[in-house]
Symmetry: C2
Subunit: 359 residues, 2 copies
């Protein structure tokens, strides 16, 4: 984990842009503090429960990176009054009217980033959308602060090689820089130009005009990231500890006590070149067992099978043996658990770090 | 929920077999108590944390229906000493040796059911497996109690019509009754003959020789069950409340603040005749919006799109509107939440019922 944090820190130091770590992956104050570099402006959150939890732990600069739901503005205004001026994301003109109404009703000057749609996959304004300037004006007229723009290049997850990821990072950069320049030409200051995803952050060659990068999965990495070439399998810093509970002699397969409840239903590698099933299998001490995957799961059962479909030998594992499963998607698998049991030589930082959950 | 409970109760009353409700779906004492009929022998659990939680709430007859992991036997022996003689499941001969060793080491006479493999999909002994009798003898020699047999017909989820589900239920029944008769001919009493899944429990025509039925999903039902014909969509008694956060004009799609964190990654209807995406969409008051599904999700975003791929009209929904999402798989979606907010006319039983979680 420490090495993963340092790798991205070094990459962004080369490009001269600070990291605003996304804590939706870890949801842990112990880990969030380690993800923040000395120049990090703050963190990125995905729920108001995260905002409240990390604020209670002293983090006062937070970007809530999900398009704002009007029904949440009363709760957000309470956070403002209590000293957390949460930066909000606004991804369509319809929401601007609702934010303006709430700003007046609650007497609260919300600070917002306008989300830019770089890849057509989620919400946001196209960089050349006339509505971008109209929306910024509407918000400023309502007494709100338009801090700038942000985007998330989800399409980077469809890449298959480094060249594609470099292009995705540049495409992401151009989308927000273009939008920010339009805002500035129209008289808005727009100091914040925020991009982010672990793949694009890792492969960006140039971040000119970008003021901060958001990434969170890099802290653990996972099989989807390895499939993209963003990390090696040996970099994956999170696993689910499990125990072998049985052998299926007619199928040559093994049962473990980690099903989808422990691993999550995420099948993110199914659309990649190497499908890892529900995860790859390691020994308890972390050595990869290369020919075996978690082929299927039910709620509390996992079935281990050879990748090539052949039967495993009846002495391959034994009942009671402990194994570790590397997850497809760290965010989804970690979310199934109440916290992290640390492994390593130095446990001075604790043995268990809890996670927060909920909304 | 109450109607779903009553429907299965009536079905099993006709067949003269009591329900041992599986609480892995609800993980709530309030709901488990309502699932237990006057003749229920107890409950079924899927984790030791469930066993401890429901025992703390006074439920003393529990079947732990996952093949036993030897590493859990110390914790289970503590439960026995504290007054919970948890019935265990043993699904292979390799585990029997480990249970026998632990019984001697811990001076604990474990009670066990032998799992029967009715469909080749998970663990268990084939009904005619010679190892069944040898394993029973080994356990009895170690001072343990072999209470009988159990099976779970996971293959019932592959059915497409009622006739298939009726055959699956009969196949499941025959597997355990055959195994129980073999045990009895060999001198084991084997009073417990346990079958179960919501589909087979709902479609069984005959349960002769079966002593109890396990089912849990029936309490909520879900889109997978509706796809199997086990319930109607109107029977689904659980949903995720969400809010519209934006419109994607170029795609004619809508964003809501329920992503896979709230809905789970379960795509159980993907292999059924009608793929419901990540869920079906209802109004806040529960009327089905028939032509729209949750097409895709990211962690905290859901995208609503028409089933037929056409664009929705820009006035179809509005930002701030509340909707409900019906889940593919109730067990998986409920697991993403800390509890249940009750809706209905009578809230005398409370407004919020918490769920337990963990292992």
């Amino acid at each position: 984990m420490t090495r993963n944090i340092q790798t991205l820190e070094a990459q962004l130091a080369r490009l001269g842009v600070p990291l605003r770590p996304h804590v939706k992956t870890c949801k842990s104050i112990e880990i969030a503090r380690r993800m923040m570099a000395s120049n990090s402006p703050g963190i990125t959150v995905s729920t108001l429960a995260e905002a409240e939890y990390f604020f209670a732990h002293g983090i006062e600069d937070q970007l809530y990176a999900v398009g704002i739901a009007p029904g949440k503005l009363d709760r957000i205004a309470r956070l403002y009054r209590n000293g957390l001026p949460l930066k909000l994301t606004l991804d369509n003109s319809g929401s601007a009217r609702r934010v303006a109404e709430a700003a007046a009703r609650l007497d609260c000057a919300f600070s917002l980033l306008l989300e830019i749609d770089a890849d057509g996959q989620r919400g946001g304004f196209r960089p050349d959308d006339p509505g971008l300037l109209e929306t910024a004006a509407e918000l400023v007229d309502a007494g709100c602060h338009v801090l700038g723009v942000m985007t998330h290049m989800g399409a980077s997850y469809d890449c298959r090689d480094a060249a594609c990821l470099e292009r995705a990072a540049e495409h992401e950069r151009l989308a927000v820089v273009t939008a920010a320049e339009r805002l500035r030409r129209a008289g808005f200051e727009a100091p914040v130009v925020s991009v982010g995803s672990t793949p694009t952050a890792s492969f960006a060659l140039n971040l000119d005009g970008v003021s901060e990068v958001r990434a969170g999965t890099h802290v653990f990495m996972d099989l989807v990231m390895a499939g993209l070439g963003v990390c090696r399998i040996g970099d994956i810093a999170i696993s689910v500890l499990t125990e072998v509970i049985g052998y299926r002699p007619h199928a040559g397969e093994w049962l473990v006590d980690a099903g989808w409840m422990a691993l999550s239903r995420d099948r993110g590698t199914a659309s990649q070149d190497v499908d890892c099933g529900y995860g790859l299998v390691c020994s308890e001490s972390g050595e990869l067992i290369d020919d075996v995957i978690v082929r299927s799961t039910s709620q509390e059962h996992g079935i281990l099978a050879r990748r090539d479909g052949k039967a495993t030998e009846p002495d391959r594992f034994e009942v009671g043996q402990r194994l570790r499963i590397l997850p497809n998607h760290a965010c989804a698998t970690a979310a199934q658990h109440g916290g992290y049991w640390l492994v390593g030589e130095d446990l001075s930082a604790g043995r268990f770090w809890p996670r927060m959950h909920g909304w």
